[in-house]
Amino acid sequence: MIEKFKNDGSDPWSMDHAAHLMRRAMIGVRIDEVEAAYADGLYMTVDQMLAPWNMSFQRIEKYRTGDVQAWVTPIDHPYWEVFFKDKDLRYTDTVQWLCQEVANAPASILPKLLMGWHSALPISLNGAQFTEHCLDYINILFENGSGDALKLLREVSTGVAMGIFLNGVDSFWNSGRDGVNENHARELLELHATGVYDLDGKANYTQADIKAMAYSMSGWKLNEWLRPNADGSTSLMRSRNLIFEKTWWDPRQKTIFGETSTWNRDDVLNLVFSKKKRNIAEKICRRLYREYVNDKEDVAFIKEMVQVLEQNNFQMKPVLKALFTSAHFFDAKNRMTMVVTPFEYMISIIRRYKVDYIPDFHDSDARAQDDLVLRLRNFEHCPFYPPHVAGWTNGMDWLDGSRMIMRAETGYAIALGNLKFRNYNGRPVYTYNPDEILESLGINNDALEYARRVGISYLGFSDKDPRNEAFVNECKTAIEKSPTIHSVRTIHSVLQTTVRVNLC
């Protein structure tokens, strides 16, 4: 049984608790949202944060349906260049759309959860080839991210994006000709579903299992055909699903987890989901724990989470709810002890300051302006460009000296509203309205009160902590030194150069 957070005398529900909850559960919480959470109390807040997130697909609507144009021949045809250029623009469009949706999201756990699944079950635009497949994949994460974990795993595993990314579509067995690729079978277990070892350190499967799974999963391929175009070129078209080619499948007897039959891919998924239920539950709960509570696993607590997940038939919402309302989650050792990812760092700034001009989002020719995307790529944390089949790193691995300084430099420049982006020389961008921030909090002329609240909500200081006083004093000194700069901008410039703003 997960011990619930008790709103009692020793540690009553406070702004500190509300701020901790919101900082951890979402990307870039704002002070007004922390204050609302404090007023609403823990349970109401958690329920609200688990509510559906109405993502807007408008910007990428045109890629959401229809067949995929996967190639054009001949390559010296003028249309080939058009196609290739458009392909790259679509990639950028897709990344910018996702960034924009996350930055515009309401106070919800879903954006961070979505990014977490994207890292846990990664695909890449380059590796998965084509926006359409990546959008279908994101849709799976979006619809199942807090729902049925097994459905999530099944749909991602059988999707085109993962099929291409992990070479599932290049895996065939044709009358004894062996073209079977183990990549997908291995990652399905190792990275996606079970992990190599269970919580007690016991191996979850053998190399022989992987091999047999790979042979069983053979036979799936892309559904492609040629379409002649009016201009004399030919397009290679592709449907948005994989098809099964029986002559590419290995029909022999195969032994997986000790059971022998003529297994196929769906049998494999059924076997994993039935035989390895406990391992899957552990893997998911460990992942959620490391995403939301602490990089260092607390095995006893994770085992309790596993129970909740199993009791609820792998529905993840009850586990998330139990996690966010647990006493353990609010334990002092779990507060401000996680590292903010570069993506979270950038989106937090945009969301918190309500940045009203970002070239990627707001230029009429935004397709050509990818300043934010380039920054994220410099930080090595751009959605759809994972470094690795195992997704992005986490925790302290994000922070080396150079990138810490990149963060501080970027945050400092945006805070003061003077980040210049590459193509429009000298034009200040990533800017925002500092007065509006004070107005929204009802503290029109009190910059130091704003600093105090920034310390509580963003730096995790309790009101009585002398460190918050020290932060307010830092801000005060900085404001006095720069009388011509709006004091809210100065406060943000101090905030973004603290070491602590990298923690949550």
């Binding site: 050792k333 002890t337 790529r377 000296g401 990138r403 810490m404 300084i405 430099e409 932060f471 070491v499």
Partner: protein
């Protein structure tokens, strides 16, 4: 090896005194021509390795072209419009090798080769080659087996080992620098990251960085992060100072990303930065489409700039302590696709530098005897090259490499020296340094030819190398170690016939 084992072995390495450490360099069976010579002793100072990652998978067949092979043209020249071959008459011929030559855009590399500064290692790969860019790159950078997920790099582990796990002091130069878009695990040790990720144009962050003292867990983390940030700033200051000491580039280079990296690295080296490892990531070698144009352009871009880099170091005299190794995650399929080639397996690797034992190593993969996936079969494991560099360039005892840095033992290639009778004496255990530990003097048992030229070098844990005065006696060399500070050293004896390694422990006087 897991982390715990590594820590354990690091601990034991620092307390146990190694006995005779041998570097048996195997006589390499395959013929290699070119200028086989003993490298001149390095200048005082750090030896440097610059790894250039050619991202995407370089087509080895069209890099070192088997122009005498009918099979090559049969497979690669499908039809006039689908010709993925390099015409024999355009290939730059290699001395001493009748049937292979450089891609026509590799004339800068061929020029260095003709001066004996390029080792061409043919058919490089590893068991169960992985054809994913990501996984392939991870395997190359981690030096792990294909089946093992290792989240540290061979160069990171080397630094962790040679520095005893310590990080650079503030104000000291970074141990390693990494540049480029797609960074990897190359410079991650088992326990910490040793690479400074350098962004061109990044300058010291001069704004005040507030850190709030406290006693909770978050304060500990905050303190550590502040340290990392200071370290980053310290690195940037060191780098800027070096760049300031070597303000300009003297060679033409071009405007490509790899040129900007190499120009910066050259200035760092010429500016006296003591960084030992540079890892540069760049390239578009993933030539699924338009291979002929893209590959020609990429080879030209990479090797012209590498040539300029080498020439610039030769001008400044730093060339004797720098080695350049371009690597790629895999080669490409023999059978072409519509306008390019798919991911494949074996490909040549180059090791470039004035101290390199230039020539051809290994034999080119057969075009008729392919593996089950119709890919080239590899002959030399890439970790043989790594082990050769660790041992012969960084003077790391192969026993330590085998135990700590690489998955197991990999036979060396004579990339920097020639197999010799001296090595065999050493392999037989006849060379002993005594007394051990020593203070001002010690001897190594070795029989030198009368009047044979020799030099003794001692390299400390930080990779710094010192020349040791020595006098030849009967069956021994007397060494004057009085100028060495107390500590563990790797000792290298170079003679006209070859080299041997030994270890040296100097105690406080």
């Amino acid at each position: 090896m897991n982390r715990r084992q590594l820590i354990k072995s690091l601990l034991s390495a620092s307390v146990a005194l190694p006995g005779v450490l041998s570097t048996p360099i195997k006589t390499f069976a395959a013929p290699y021509s070119g200028i086989a010579r003993i490298a001149a002793p390095p200048n005082q100072g750090n030896r440097i390795l610059v790894v250039v990652r050619m991202f995407g998978g370089n087509d080895g067949l069209n890099t070192i072209v088997p122009y005498a092979s009918d099979e090559y043209y049969r497979v690669r020249k499908v039809e006039a419009l689908r010709d993925m071959s390099i015409a024999a008459e355009t290939v730059i011929k290699i001395d001493g090798l009748k049937d292979h030559g450089f891609h026509p855009s590799l004339s800068p590399l061929a020029e260095l080769y003709s001066e004996g500064k390029v080792a061409v290692i043919q058919g490089v790969g590893y068991p169960n080659m992985n054809l994913s860019h990501f996984r392939g790159a991870d395997i190359w950078l981690s030096a792990s087996d294909a089946s093992n997920f290792e989240h540290s790099g061979w160069m990171g582990r080397m630094l962790e080992f040679t520095h005893g796990g310590s990080r650079p002091a503030y104000g000291a130069d970074p141990y390693a620098i990494e540049m480029g878009d797609v960074l990897g695990y190359a410079l991650a040790g088992q326990n910490s990251m040793y690479g400074h990720r350098m962004t061109i144009g990044q300058s010291e962050f001069t704004k005040k960085i507030p850190v709030f003292d406290g006693s909770d867990d978050s304060a500990v983390l905050e303190y550590n992060l502040a340290q990392i940030m200071r370290e980053g700033n310290s690195n940037i200051i060191s780098i800027e100072a070096a760049l300031d000491r070597a303000k300009t580039n003297t060679q033409p280079y071009d405007a490509s990303p790899i040129a900007s990296y190499l120009k910066t690295v050259s200035r760092c080296i010429r500016g006296g930065l003591e960084t030992q490892l540079y890892v540069l990531h760049s390239g578009m070698f993933d030539t699924h489409h338009r291979q002929q144009q893209v590959h020609t352009q990429q080879l030209d871009e990479f090797f012209r700039n590498i040539h300029d880099f080498q020439r610039e170091l030769e001008e400044s005299g730093d060339d004797t302590r720098v080695v350049i190794m371009p690597i790629s995650e895999f080669g490409r399929r023999v059978d072409p696709t519509e306008s390019g080639t798919d991911h494949g397996t074996a490909a040549p690797v180059f090791v470039i530098g004035s101290e390199v034992n230039g020539g051809i190593y290994g034999t080119a993969p057969s075009l008729t005897d392919l593996d089950i996936d119709d890919n080239l079969r590899w002959e030399i494991d890439f970790r043989q090259i790594y082990n050769s560099i660790l041992s012969q360039w960084f003077l790391i005892n192969p026993a330590d490499s085998e135990r700590l840095l690489l998955p197991r033992r990999f036979d060396e290639l004579p990339l920097f020296g020639r197999a010799s009778s001296v090595n065999q004496i050493n392999a037989a255990g006849k060379s002993v340094a005594y007394p051990m530990p020593c203070s001002d003097k010690c001897r190594i048992t070795i029989a030198l030819e009368k009047g044979e030229q020799h030099q003794v070098l001692a390299t400390n844990a930080q990779g710094r190398t010192f020349a040791i005065p020595s006098i030849a006696e009967t069956e021994a060399l007397a060494l004057d170690t009085s100028s060495l500070a107390a500590g563990l050293y790797n000792l290298t004896l170079r003679t006209s016939a070859g080299r041997i390694h030994n270890s040296l422990c100097v105690v406080d006087r």
